[in-house]
């Protein structure tokens, strides 16, 4: 990873910082907040480098009208990439201010320091400040990365900047935003991706409230009203009356894994390594694993606002990428990019490419028809669960040969999946849902996978981290896409690590080895061994495994290094299996390099672990031939409070080592740990996710 990618694209300090005469500093970043605490982490870096007290620095809401272009906020890269740029901009600004103060005071610059925004001599005399020198320092100056990483762990954690608004109920979310004169819109959607809007009965529109305006553009259908309840009621009424003709059938859900394997595909070989030429004459073990589609299932419905004055189109969105969205919208309408402004406003939790961008395009499309009145679009729950991009179903075959000495050779891993990326602008297509429906728009292309430099997609963590005699790994990206897929937190890593870690336990069982000792014997990396040992120790691996075996419970272990290059993470799950599968406790040990904000890391790991428990135990998108059917919280259940395990997090800080992200690394290890804990509890290997009673019964056969 190019740690200064954000800096290379925006090298001047003035892109990042404005110093005001009252001593307040405005920090502009292109990375967006969605509850992961990134603006707090970047603020902590900035005030540490500048020598400012908290409260003297404000993060400007990201906007294409002034923020640096940092692409997407994704892939657990923000603290790393944006953090490096912010650090460089702030460290260089601090140096320039000190030099200016030194020149004015006639003292050597290296003798001066900055404390709480004041520039002081060693004797404590104040010779300037950010505020007093604000007009005298030219920040159109290239920022340079500081030669030395500041030890962020030496600073106390900054409290989350966004939480007070949320805890006191003050408006902060995009759903809370109102623009003068705005119209409320709802979109009526087909039950599946490719469908043709056949007919709108003549009387269907007549029965709507007189204030409601119906907009049709090709297969795109929406209603507008000054009153939100009228728009919602009209959308409900109209959706009952219109007919859609499916352009294709969906696959048979009960045979989804077989369907994936039967499609046209693009194969990529990720590893084909012969490390030793030994013949083991050992036991060959084989297994197949599978998982269904997952929904983002954000707790809010996606929302966007847009306003068009005849020339400039302004869009308010909870997108992950303000600049890519601007480009996609401008491209779809044939507009000049400079005539489109995208402003970020916080939405609810974002776990990948969710419908935020699609909602923004809905609003933009409608705002071009309202004579300058702003439009607010809110999706409904069914669309949020069924019309946005989903995480692809996946299936994998694994085999390996285990020697009498515990060594492993002839490892093969093949995984079939739809692609994990169809973000706006990918492959030159706007990739926005309504653009596939409107007249003259372009159908959405099949999802692709990010390349190896970005950590892969369906192949993410498909290459095993262990030392094997040989390993052959291939991904088979499915080219037909009847159900739209894209990026979800950890991409393919959740499933791949589930499969690999399950299989590691199957190999350990074949070898008659303890799963912990078996893994450690095949791992050289000290940081890998450290997280595994810490998680095992935290969970009381030895004693607890013995004790658990007698009580319908089992301990399971899972490990991965995220993207094979990022955070090291191990999890031990204590799983109870009675009439359903339940996770009682998870111990996670993680190494994200140098820790910037310790509580922020803990919060991300806790949340990621709980979400992974939900995916692994409960979640799968359900569908029939003519559409997705898991469209509410009853049919797409997620983990509830009483089902939530205790999560204990051990953070191994590595001061001086590169910072890597924490948000996504835990999903795979938790999935593997739960599957292995379940097997330890019931003595049966369940190879299909989710680990519902239904799938357990099927595995018992």
């Amino acid at each position: 990873v190019n740690r200064s990618a954000s800096l290379a694209a925006n090298p001047l300090i003035s892109s990042w910082l404005t110093v005001q005469e009252d001593g307040t500093v405005i920090l502009r970043v292109g990375k967006v907040e969605f509850g992961q605490g990134i603006h707090t982490a970047l603020t902590q870096i900035a005030i540490g480098e500048l020598g400012l007290p908290p409260g003297k620095l404000v993060v400007a809401p990201p906007s294409t009208a002034g923020s640096p272009d940092e692409g997407f906020t994704a892939g657990s890269l923000s603290t790393q990439v944006s953090g490096a740029a912010v650090r460089a901009a702030c460290a260089t600004a601090r140096r320039l201010f000190i030099e200016t103060a030194a020149a004015k005071a006639g003292v050597p610059a290296r003798s001066l320091s900055v404390i709480d925004g004041d520039i002081r001599t060693p004797e404590g005399e104040i010779v300037g400040s950010y505020g007093s020198l604000a007009g005298q320092v030219d920040l159109d100056f290239e920022a340079a990365e500081p030669s030395q990483e500041t030890d962020g762990s030496a600073q106390p954690d900054l409290q989350r900047l966004d939480l007070p608004d949320k805890i006191f109920g003050r408006p902060r979310f995009i759903q809370d935003l109102e623009l003068p004169g705005m119209l409320h819109a709802r979109v009526i959607r087909p039950p599946l991706l490719r469908a043709v809007l056949r007919e709108i009965p003549a009387d269907a529109c007549v029965s709507l409230a007189p204030s409601v305006q119906v907009v049709r553009d090709g297969n795109f259908l929406a209603v507008l009203s000054e009153r939100e309840e009228a728009a919602a009621a009209a959308a409900d009424a109209l959706s009952q009356r219109v007919t859609w003709e499916p352009a294709e059938d969906l696959p048979d859900q009960s045979r989804l894994a077989a369907w994936l394997r039967a499609q046209p595909r693009e194969t990529s070989v990720l590893a084909n390594e012969q490390k030793d030429g030994r013949k083991r004459d050992g036991t060959v073990v084989r297994a197949s694993y599978s998982r269904g589609l997952l929904a983002h299932a954000s707790i809010a419905a996606s929302c966007a606002l847009a306003r068009f004055d005849g020339r400039v189109l302004e869009v308010w969105s909870h997108t992950q990428g303000i600049y890519p969205l601007r480009g996609a919208i401008a491209g779809a309408f044939g507009m000049d990019q400079s005539d489109v402004v995208v402003r970020h406003v916080e939405g609810a939790g974002c776990y990948g490419h969710n419908p935020a961008d699609d909602a923004a395009f809905d609003a933009a499309l409608l705002a071009r028809r309202t004579g300058g009145r702003p439009v607010r679009v809110l999706w409904d729950r069914a669309a949020e669960l069924g019309s946005g991009p989903l995480a692809s179903a996946m299936t994998a075959d694994v085999s390996a040969e285990i020697g009498a000495d515990g060594s492993v050779g002839n490892w093969t891993y093949d995984v079939w999946s739809n692609g994990y990326t169809s973000r706006p602008g990918y492959a030159g297509n706007p990739g926005l849902l309504a653009n596939g429906y409107r007249h003259g728009g372009r159908p959405l292309p099949a999802s692709v996978d990010p390349g190896s430099e970005a950590g892969l997609g369906s192949g993410r963590n498909a290459v095993p981290p262990y030392t094997f005699g040989s390993a052959c790994v291939a991904t088979h990206r499915v080219l037909s896409m009847p159900i739209r897929t894209s990026a979800i937190r950890s991409l393919g890593a959740h499933f791949n690590v589930f499969a690999i870690e399950s299989f590691m336990d199957e190999l350990a069982a074949a070898a008659g080895a303890d799963p912990l000792a078996f893994r450690l014997a095949l791992l050289d990396d000290e940081r890998a061994r450290a997280v595994i040992s810490a998680a095992a120790e935290g969970a009381g691996w030895g004693q607890r495994r013995e004790a658990a075996a007698h009580a319908d419970t089992g301990l399971g272990l899972g490990y991965a290094r995220y993207k094979n290059a990022g955070a090291f993470c191990a999890a031990v799950a204590e799983v109870e299996a009675t009439e359903s599968v339940r996770v009682r406790r998870i111990v996670v040990a993680v190494d994200v390099g140098q820790v910037v904000n310790l509580d922020g890391v803990r919060n991300q790991i806790e949340g990621g672990a709980v979400q992974a428990v939900s995916w692994t135990l409960k979640e799968q998108v359900r569908f029939g031939r003519d559409g997705i059917t898991s469209l509410n919280w009853n049919t797409y259940p997620i983990l509830r409070f009483s089902e939530t395990p205790q999560v204990d997090v051990v953070v191994i800080n590595r001061p001086g080592l590169p910072v890597v992200g924490a948000g996504e690394c835990v999903a795979g290890p938790v999935a593997g740990a739960i599957a292995n804990g379940l097997c330890a509890a019931i003595g049966v290997r369940v190879r299909a996710l989710p680990l519902t009673a239904e799938n357990v019964v099927q595995a018992i056969g």
């Binding site: 969605f34 509850g35 992961q36 605490g37 409290q159 989350r160 966004d162 939480l163 007070p164 608004d165 949320k166 805890i167 006191f168 109920g169 003050r170 408006p171 979310f173 759903q175 809370d176 009153r227 939100e228 309840e229 009228a230 919602a232 009621a233 299932a297 954000s298 707790i299 809010a300 419905a301 916080e346 939405g347 609810a348 939790g349 974002c350 776990y351 809110l378 409904d380 729950r381 509580d599 919060n603 991300q604 806790e606 949340g607 990621g608 672990a609 709980v610 979400q611 939900s614 509410n632 919280w633 009853n634 997620i638 983990l639 509830r640 409070f641 009483s642 939530t644 205790q646 999560v647």
Partner: protein, 155 residues
């Protein structure tokens, strides 16, 4: 259009609306009270939880005309940054929440629960919060904060 009179956060207020409009829409769009959130519109996630006569209630498909003389309370009336409710203080102290969209509903449900059950167990709190969903996985911190607020005492 009908004028409906409601008692909200201790004040008598009026809103122009039509019968059948959800209480949540009236609170958010016509009374400017944005704390309660729209999550599903089907009484299944709890983001819209407010008090109706002290009882935690989903407001997203609660027709406003059914409110009658009942007293509505929303998170806006629970506490302020200078005088936080013990739960709000506990949530801040514990840095509870990721996206925070579910928090207004969860805090209102938890506040009613603690009022009626002063010293609950961990399992009790978890079960009491089951009608509300959180997607970011903040459950553990939320439960911890509710237990802490319970110990430090409720007004």
């Amino acid at each position: 259009m009908t004028v409906i009179s409601l008692r909200v956060n201790g004040e008598q207020v009026r809103a122009d609306t039509e019968p059948g409009t959800p209480l949540l829409t009236v609170l958010r769009n016509y009374l400017g009270l944005k704390a309660a959130k729209f999550g599903c519109g089907q009484s299944l996630c709890g983001a819209c939880t407010v008090w109706v006569d002290g009882c935690p209630t989903y407001s997203c498909d609660f027709p406003v005309e059914v409110v009658g003389d009942s007293e509505i309370r929303t998170l806006e009336s629970l506490g302020t940054e200078s005088e936080p409710h013990p739960l709000q203080r506990a949530f801040l102290d514990g840095q509870v929440g990721q996206c925070g969209y579910c928090l207004p509903g969860i805090i209102m449900r938890a506040a009613a629960y603690l009022r009626d059950h002063p010293a609950p167990s961990r399992a009790d709190v978890a079960e009491a919060l089951d009608p509300n969903l959180c997607r970011c996985g903040s459950h553990q911190r939320i439960i911890d904060a509710v237990l802490r607020a319970g110990r430090t005492g409720m007004p």
